[in-house]
Amino acid sequence: MSKQSLPESADILLVEDQPSDAELAARALQQEGLDMRLAVMRCGSELLDYIFSRGEHASRQPVDLPLLILLDLKLPRVSGDEVLEQLKADERTKHIPVVMLTSSREAQDVERCYQLGVNSFVVKPVDSTRFAETVQRLARYWITINEPPRTRSL
């Protein structure tokens, strides 16, 4: 996915450096028919640029903040936990639900993410069917079941 295809605003931001996983996740969300805007990014710095409308996304005119950020842990350049740390450290973004969607089951990773204020920590199932189900369930919960914060703009 190219940066050009990123919408001005999205409901779910997915940060995933593996294109196959990104596509499987995107497909799963489309299938669910939630009618939501998905933006997929390949690395942490891109997400931060997008959210804060800077760098390559300086020209972006954001309408709303996302309803959910799905964040992989092992990302090139700026890793998932660094992104998380910055998001949760910023008054403007700290209320955005962030779910780690990662292959890691390492206790220290889990601990660290919760320390940084992650809202949920989910391990990617190897099985693609279950992976798809997991992504769908997450989206349904955070978008439709969970009551989002009132403030949705920066």
Partner: protein, 720 residues
Amino acid sequence: MAELQHELPEMDGPPEDEHVLFGAEQQAIHSRLYEDAPVPYIVGTADGIIRKVNKQAAERLGYAQEELVGAPVVSIYAETPDGRPRAKQVLEKLRRGDDLVHDEAQMQTRDGSVFWARITIRSITNEAGGVVAHWGVFIDIEEQKALEKELRKARGESEAEVERRTSELSRINRALREEINKRREVQQEQNKQLAAMEASVVGMSIHESDGTFRYANPAHATIYGYDSPDELIGESWEILYDDRQVEDVKSEALVDLKQGRRWTGELRGLRKDGSYFDVLLSLTPLPDGGLACICQDVTRRKQQERELQRYADRLQTLHEIDRAILSAESPHAIADAALERVYEQLPCDRASVVVFDHESQQGEVLAYAVGGDSKIKRGARFPMSEFRITEMLESGQPEVVHDMQNVPPTSVLSKLQKEGIRSYISLPMMLDDELIGLVNLGSKETDSFTEAYQDLMREITDQVTIAIRQARLLEQVQKQTEELEQRVAERTAELESFTYSVSHDLRTPLRAIDGFSRLLDKDYGHLLDEEGQRLLSIVRTSASRMGQLIDDLLALSRLGRQEMRKAPIDMTELAHQVTEELLRVHDRDSVSVTIRDLPPAEGDRAMARTILTNLVSNSLKFTRDEAEPRIEIGAIEKEGAWIYFVKDNGAGFDMAYAHKLFGVFQRLHDDDEFEGTGVGLAIVERAVRRHCGDVWAEAEVDEGATIYFTLNDVPGVPNT
């Protein structure tokens, strides 16, 4: 008073018989004699009737002569047991034919007084031999009897007296004999003692109250270097000691003696020739104010004592060094400990231990001890050439330099000399004929190191050498062990991290294979023929299998690295939870599962759950084809420890492969029969091991399997 009874008519004149016997003349003479005889005289008939009594007899008996004639003879005898009965006995004897009878009997006077008489009666026979008369004479023996009685009494008394005196005498005699014996023994004893005293090697003497010799045995003289005791007799004991000792004796020993106490002690004796020696004295006060002295030359004993003491000191030194060395661990500590003791116990001004590194040709000062400041510090390294390593040292012999000015200086020696060291000894530390170091002792005096000193130092050096060698070996071993452990740890970490990252990294492509092959199947499956669909399904199954494998490997890897969280675990409850969950997931309600009461465990609950989950899963899997599948979870107690088990009646396995059971990727069944990754029991094994427990199996093909495991050896938890 007895009245005489006349049995016969009174007769005139002598009996007719007398005529027969004597002629008339004779008879007249006889009668005359008879009548006038100063002896009482009685003639009686054979029948015992008195026929005639002379004047003497009548008088004695108190009768008139005529009164008695015709009376029975017995009537003149007393009416006592010694009177008439005896008279009758006499008559009887006569009647029986005795012609002469002597007897004593009690007779009786007319007035009844009784007297003893000696009677002699003779029978008078006629020619035909018939008894015609009895002639009797009696003599009053009353007086004699009384005398006799008196005499007898007197004799009795005297005998008693004699007896008493005799016994007294014999007693005295005995006492005397004993006394004599005793005195003899004492004498002998004294002789013996004297002989013993004379011959004794122990000096003995007796002194007058003024201290002069009354007696001295030869040994006493010899001990003090005199030729004969005579030289001492009359002299004062004071000549045997110098003034100081004399004063000591007076102020100490003599005070005790005056109070009646014995004194024993050692003095420094002064011989005649002026030499001194050690003498052991025992002084005993005598009742007369003198004293007895026993003395012994203990110079040799003292020498031996001193030698023993030296020996003991030496042993002590060695022992202390031993102990110090034993408690030390590094060569440095050993050398320090040894030197500290040497420095304490053996006089020297400087001590050091140097070890050589033959590769770098350097010597390192392991330890040193000095009185003052030293230019040579511990840990300092010098080229070996700086040390004066002589051939003596290289051959294992100590090198003694009595005066350093006599040897060519090296820089090390010069430094020592500047510190004032004048003599030194170097002792080689030899290891397998190689000089590995030196123990050096220096003194500010020349000629400080005696043979004895060298001997002791040699022993100490040997000990230090052995200890340093041990310590070096130990250090090597420890270093190697640490290196090995380090390497193992690194390798393990590498391996774990490799396993983890590989497993982790494999997941994404695998999910892609799985996900996209599924999409392919879903979206384009209808375009594929049967073979195409079969091939696609193989891709999908393989992906799924690989996913399981990776999950298992990750679990295994995690188990190895995961921190243990120890807590009490209710194993019964856990077994129920695990079983219910698995039965639900696998939809195997038909399995009969028996869960016994399990003893609680202490350990990591998650790991315990992993263990039970894997074991019960296996049992479910392997009982799949059983008509009546049964699983039992229980525990048995053995030697005080609990052993948990999970037992099933499933496919079992051949015990010949039991050793492979817990290896990673080890499978004992074909995939066609029972699918699996071969990691499950490896996970169980690792979890059990992390609890310091044990796991093993018992099985038989088609008869089921039982997996046993223990958890109770968790570190820090005492065995029950």
